[in-house]
């Protein structure tokens, strides 16, 4: 049976290298996934995620289990790290459909969604990439709440705590993200397959 996160934190504070390494292994993907969704740059996301882990481990003794899950505490640090970067660099102001010299390498990772229709890409098995590209066009705060809610399974109040938003705003962002994504897909001529 896997050790609880809180127990790993206790062991890490007692000097267990194994516990520290396990915490990194357990949360590297969730943290990276959240950050890369926010900043849309894989290399940058790895740097920021590493920064987040360094910050978290250097203040690990401040984590209090009675205040919430360790994962939420870590997500909050990752959120703040990514947001600080976005505010400093305004990376997200570069529109994804107007790549230039400073365009994030997201464009080099994903196919240009203007050149090929969604249906053709779907036929090639690129459904996930199509959806990722569409999600990428949402505002970073929308992307963040969508990932936290539907991929990490956080409750609304937990998302509010992590993203430092009012509860109502979290629900509003989720609603708007859904509507906006539907609009984006409809603009690219995506349509559901007719029922057989």
């Amino acid at each position: 049976m896997a050790e609880r996160d809180e127990q790993l934190v206790e062991d890490a504070l007692e000097g267990s290298q194994r516990a520290c390494t396990e915490l990194v292994r357990r949360f590297e993907r969730p943290v990276f996934n959240l950050v890369v969704r926010m900043v849309r740059d894989r290399t940058l996301a790895e740097d920021l995620s590493q920064d987040a882990f360094v910050k978290a481990f250097s203040r690990l003794e401040t984590y209090r289990p009675e205040q919430g899950k360790f994962s939420n505490w870590l997500f909050k640090i990752a959120h703040n790290t990514a947001i600080d970067h976005l505010r400093r660099g305004a990376l997200d102001t570069v529109p994804i459909d107007a790549p230039g010299e400073d365009a994030p390498d997201w464009h080099q990772v994903l196919p240009d969604h203007e050149a090929v229709s969604p249906l053709e890409r779907a036929e090639r098995g690129d459904l996930a990439r199509v959806l990722d590209a569409a999600i990428d066009r949402l505002r970073p705060e929308y992307r963040e709440v969508v990932v936290l809610r539907h991929q990490e399974g956080l409750a609304y109040d937990e998302i509010a705590e992590v993203a430092e938003l009012p509860l109502g705003t979290v629900k509003t962002y989720l609603h708007r993200a859904r509507k906006e994504l539907a609009r984006i897909l409809s603009e690219t001529d995506w349509s559901p397959e007719p029922a057989p």
Binding site: S49, R178, L181
Partner: protein
């Protein structure tokens, strides 16, 4: 996986078209959950562990550090309080009494209170007299220096306590 994701996307869009908000929300969540999470590079965990693990402050070191900080803060606070009381000792005719003197002082204070109420001295007039006495005493160099020293020590104690509270209450992120 491709067919499953396609099915989820379609289920969501059908619900949106039908304006069935609750069903659309549920289908949307199922669709996002089915998307693969992005993974970092293969050596990411090793790099992070190398950078982050040494930053963990062990609890034993932390407790030792806290013990020293608490002792120093308490000593500075005590020194500040003691120094703060010294000028008052110069202003007020206070000296360490014996038990007999304490009893006599209490009796004379009670007698004074009775006389005061009888004489009808107003409270603010009394406070004004005390204030004047303090001002006169503070004008002397030694009492003035004592006041400055006591304030400085008190500020130092507060700053030390503030630093302790800051590190205890470190803001996440």
């Amino acid at each position: 996986m491709t067919n499953d994701l396609r099915h989820r996307i379609d289920a969501w869009l059908f619900a949106e078209d039908a304006r069935e908000d609750a069903r659309a929300e549920e289908a949307f969540g199922a669709m996002i959950a089915a998307l693969p999470r992005f993974a970092p590079s293969a050596d990411f965990a090793a790099r992070v562990a190398a950078a982050a693990v040494p930053r963990v402050v062990r609890r034993s070191a932390l407790e030792s550090s806290w013990g020293w900080k608490a002792a120093i803060a308490a000593a500075v606070a005590m020194a500040g309080v003691t120094a703060g009381l010294l000028p008052l000792a110069r202003v007020l005719p206070v000296r360490v009494p014996g038990w007999g003197e304490v009893v006599a002082a209490v009796a004379s204070a009670a007698s004074w209170i009775v006389d005061w109420t009888r004489s009808g001295v107003f409270v603010w007039e009394t406070l004004a007299r005390i204030g004047k006495a303090v001002a006169v005493a503070a004008a002397t160099p030694e009492v003035g220096a004592g006041l400055v020293a006591s304030v400085a020590l008190a500020v130092g104690a507060l700053l030390t306590l503030h630093q302790l509270l800051q590190s205890e209450r470190r803001v996440v992120g």
